[in-house]
């Protein structure tokens, strides 16, 4: 179970940071046309779309994999919700993401990029709460900070639009780590 969890977290971290590689390849105009003579006449955007689709597919896979994680739930009892307040976090990742993009756009050499990517990967992995992957938004997920009745803050990834903490019920959560949960 522990191994699955570790792999899943590595996978999530990769998905969250891999867009930096895509941006870099687009900037450097690295295309797949040279691989085969059949592809030589393809417009560049085909390569770019292809690059972009890799993290999207990986993100989709990570969502499928998350079914294997340990169960959890936050259930309302006698109609009383256990959540005190909700804070939307969809935009919270924007500053860090813009940071990633600017780095990718300003890096000139491939080995610099690899080094920067490695550092970002490491810190994203270790920071635990920062599995902000904007690609989750593509699949209809949203990010929220929830404060439970015992004043403990958790990070939740869910498809629902949460607004009113009074009637919340999460019978089917999966534990990504001790602070981050995803609703299935």
């Amino acid at each position: 179970m522990n191994i699955i969890n570790l792999l899943f977290r590595l996978f999530l971290t990769f998905n969250a940071t891999s867009l930096i590689l895509v941006v870099y390849m687009v900037k450097e105009q690295i295309v797949i046309n040279s691989i085969s003579c059949y592809l030589a006449n393809l417009p560049h955007w085909v390569s770019y779309v292809l690059y972009f689709s890799v993290p999207v597919i990986f993100t989709f896979l990570s969502l499928l994999l998350s079914n294997k994680l340990a169960d959890d739930n936050i259930e309302a009892e006698e109609g009383k919700s256990a959540i005190k307040d909700i804070e939307q976090a969809n935009n919270a990742y924007l500053p860090s993401y813009l940071g990633y993009f600017f780095v990718a756009l300003s890096v000139n050499y491939c080995d610099t990029l690899i080094f920067v990517f490695a550092i970002l990967f490491l810190f994203t992995f270790l920071s635990q709460t920062l599995y902000f992957n904007p690609l989750f938004l593509v699949f209809g997920y949203h990010f929220y900070y929830l404060n439970t009745e015992n004043n403990i803050k958790i990070f939740l990834i869910t498809k629902r639009n949460l607004k009113d903490p009074r009637s919340l019920n999460f019978p089917n959560l999966k534990r990504i780590n001790d602070f981050t949960f995803i609703e299935k």
Partner: protein, 273 residues
Amino acid sequence: MNHLLAKTRGRNGDYFKVISNSEIYPLPDDLDNPREYGTDYKLEDDEWFAITGFSEKEYCIDFLTRRFISTDYNQLPRAQYTNIEYLVAYQTGYYCFQKLTSSQVINRRYFSMSEQPELVTNAPIILINQVPDAIYHKEEDILYFKKLTSITTIFRGIYELYREATQEETEEFLENDFINLADDYSAENVKKANRKRIAMAQATLQTFNRRQKRQIFSYIREYCEDLEFDENSENFSISNEEDLKKLLYGIEQRYYTTKIGNERRLANSVSPV
């Protein structure tokens, strides 16, 4: 809503989540037959001792008074498994406690019965009891249990239920043949500390036979020289709290002599080794 948590030992002991979404303990169907706790009462098989208004008691734990939310607890790290003090399962309104003793942690080689058996080594398993040691029903605020000694480490201080003798028990104890009350000393004068000791001493005395009782009395006389003893009627004269305390300590065999140095001592607290 079913969750299993583990409480770890030590100063940094905390509650950790273990398993969710599976029922750990089937709830007993005989909880409607509760009895108030009494030291001398022996439960029938279908009975439970019950403490009502449990959250008001001083030995109630904070864990029971706050709301249970499974995401508040961290997952139990692998290294902490050997450090579990007790298990507690939350099952929609009921908390089931199980004290973990070393006999319930099994460190053996085993293989499971299957088409392709595989030898498993170095994977200790934890046994879950058929019936929990204690059950707390949140809504009714009642704690049910079968055996007080198995939950004393979970609810610290609950032992006081056991220790303090009632007025009747105190009177009964003072009426024993080996006690001669003097100076108007009576059961009314017995203070709380001695009442606790009486409850324990009563239980100890019951395990002694005649010969052992006689041995105990000579042992007490040996250590408590200032405690008056009447040779003819074979009784101690008790005239105040201090005398009673000495006698009670004697019954619990709290006096001893050091092996080296031959110093006579009183054991302030005792626990079996």
